[in-house]
């Protein structure tokens, strides 16, 4: 089973995973001299502000993804990147520390997935997802604006029925529907043992501040909160063009938890004092996958991105790129059968799955830091002291940077944090923090 001249591919979902797959399928097919056609089914209009035109996420393009895309010839313009990020601020009840990247270079992009929050008008920036869809279109992909309502088999080939469009049969069906779509059920119904991954709900909210206030209060830094809050694995505020995005990841985040976070004095102190009550312009509770999915592929069908295999908590868009690339390479160079996907695509997915195991350990350690006040104090002191050191010696700063921005594999972060020098410096700071009066409390 292979893609040949005249083969047809259907990609259901025009978010980053779907657009990357289409782009690289067409790019690689062109390189090997095979003429294929790709149809992307995406009913969403990315020019409409609010949830209708948004794929709901924190909107961070990681350092590693920015570099890989530039290497692929995909340079992200400032009409899409709302704010470039070159540093982060670590907030905690025991202090705040600013951490600059060693290169002093803007390599993280903050974007809006859609056209901006509900009610925003005449935005200066375009949608990130819309930009990628345009790139795929520029490579030759057809965009079909119909919601897929039925997936069936037609003599062993996938058949797609979308609202208002004639049913079409394809040689390969790619599912890139994310984890928040009802289309997942359609793939489960295709009978190749696929089951949607286990998920948890997160919380994303946009607050309007205006460009000037954002520059003054948030700058070009990602603000990360290391505080003891139950069920929260990660809390950050990401500055964009005219809004800031609050991103809470963890387990079953509800309204009570969000209110308590927003009313925390450490969080409030980040915002202008006149914003006594923080009212979001737009908010959503998208799901994220927390457990690995089993077999997201079969003969002539494969799922990628969030509905296939993704990265734990961080850099979901980076995982979309990697899985999209793996599918495109497998389909063009190996084939489109269950065995081909098992042998090549699944191997790439397993790299992410295995790394997520290290991610669980890394976030477990972060949760200990969050819970113990004296450890928080030690981490902040160690990080603060590093700011006068040369870039490569800032071990704690870089471990935290890579953990919170999703810029390096968890395995790499874990090994760097296991080095003797790192641990001995940390133990020294922990011991010091223990003898400082008032820092021994558990929270």
């Amino acid at each position: 089973m292979q893609l040949e001249d005249g083969s047809r591919v259907a990609v259901v979902g025009g978010g980053p995973a779907g657009s990357f797959t289409s782009y690289f399928l067409l790019d690689l097919a062109e390189r090997v001299g095979t003429s294929i056609s790709v149809d992307i089914y995406e009913p969403r209009d990315y020019t409409v502000p609010g949830p209708v035109g948004c794929n709901m996420c924190g909107g961070i393009i990681s350092e590693s993804l920015v570099q890989m895309l530039a290497t692929e010839g995909i340079n992200l313009p400032s009409t899409v990147i709302q704010r470039s990020i070159d540093s982060y601020v670590l907030h905690s009840d025991v202090g705040t520390v600013n951490i600059d990247t060693p290169l002093h270079e803007m390599r993280i992009g903050a974007v809006h997935r859609g056209a901006g929050p509900k009610g925003s008008k005449g935005a200066k920036w375009g949608s990130f997802d819309g930009h990628l869809l345009e790139l795929a279109h520029g490579k030759g992909a057809n965009i079909l604006r119909g919601k897929v309502e039925e997936l069936t088999w037609d003599n062993g080939r996938p058949r797609v029925q979308a609202k208002g469009l004639p049913a079409q049969t394809y040689d390969l069906l790619v599912g890139a529907v994310g984890i928040n779509s009802t289309a997942l059920k359609l793939f489960e119904g295709l009978g190749f043992q696929y089951k949607a991954p286990e998920a948890t709900r997160t919380f994303i909210a946009e607050f309007y501040l205006g460009a000037e206030a954002i520059k003054k209060y948030f700058g070009s830094s990602m603000h990360v909160f290391l505080m003891d809050m139950p069920r929260v694995e990660f809390a950050a505020i990401i500055p964009k063009g005219e809004y800031v995005t609050l991103c809470l990841l963890g387990h079953e985040i509800d309204k009570e938890l969000v209110d308590s976070f927003l009313n925390n004095p450490v969080v409030k102190s980040c915002f202008p004092p006149e914003m006594a009550i923080l009212t979001p312009a737009c908010q959503c509770g998208p799901k994220i996958a927390v457990k690995a999915v089993c077999q997201p592929f079969g003969d002539r069908v494969v799922l990628i991105g969030d509905c296939g295999v993704t990265r734990l908590y961080k850099d979901g868009i980076g995982a979309s790129y990697r899985t999209a690339k793996a599918v495109a390479v497998t389909a063009i160079f190996d084939g489109i059968s269950n065995k081909d996907f098992q042998r090549h695509y699944w191997t790439a997915c397993q790299v992410i799955n295995k790394d997520n195991q290290f991610g669980l350990v890394v976030f477990f350690i972060v949760s200990i830091i969050r819970k113990l006040r004296f450890v928080r104090r030690a981490v902040l002191r160690m990080t603060g002291k590093e700011q006068v050191m040369e870039g490569k010696k800032r071990a704690m700063s870089m471990v935290l940077w890579d953990t919170f921005t999703g810029s390096a594999p968890y395995r790499n972060i874990f090994w760097r944090a296991s080095q003797f020098n790192f641990l001995s410096r940390l133990i020294t700071e922990v011991t010091r923090a223990l003898v400082v009066p008032g820092s021994k409390g558990l929270n």
């Binding site: 590693s64 920015v66 290497t71 990147i81 803007m106 390599r107 992009g109 460009a211």
Partner: protein, 122 residues
């Protein structure tokens, strides 16, 4: 620098890489124009002018020698750095990531061939 621009700005005339220095990264031009200059004791030779979307410094990703030429900004230029370690790790996972660099290097060899042929013809 506008708030949504990625990379780092170099002023007109500023060196981005220096011939003879150790290098462990590649650069992708996001905006502006640079010249690649081979510095020689007697005279300098301009090897190329590169602009937005072009790459330079890619030889250091694959070989451990020092920078072969100096790259200087001809206008205000914004470049993005690609780290060697991260790049090689990704190429190990996905060798097709190097296709575009190989394509660019092939284009340069083709141009070099033309230049060599022109020199030999004289």
């Amino acid at each position: 620098m506008y708030i949504g621009e990625l990379g780092k700005i170099y002023k007109e005339g500023e060196n981005i890489v220096r011939q003879g220095e150790a290098g462990d990264c590649m650069y992708v031009i996001q905006a502006g124009k640079v010249e690649v200059v081979l510095e020689r004791p007697d005279s300098n030779v301009r090897l190329a002018v590169l602009e937005s979307g072009d790459i330079f410094g890619e030889m250091s990703l694959f070989s451990r020698t020092v920078r072969s030429a100096t790259v200087r900004a001809l206008t205000e230029t914004r470049v993005l750095t690609v780290d060697k370690k991260g790049f090689l790790r990704r190429v190990h996972e996905d060798p097709s990531l190097s296709f575009r660099i190989l394509q660019k290097m092939s284009e340069r060899i083709r141009k070099l061939n033309d230049d060599v042929a022109a020199l030999k013809g004289h």
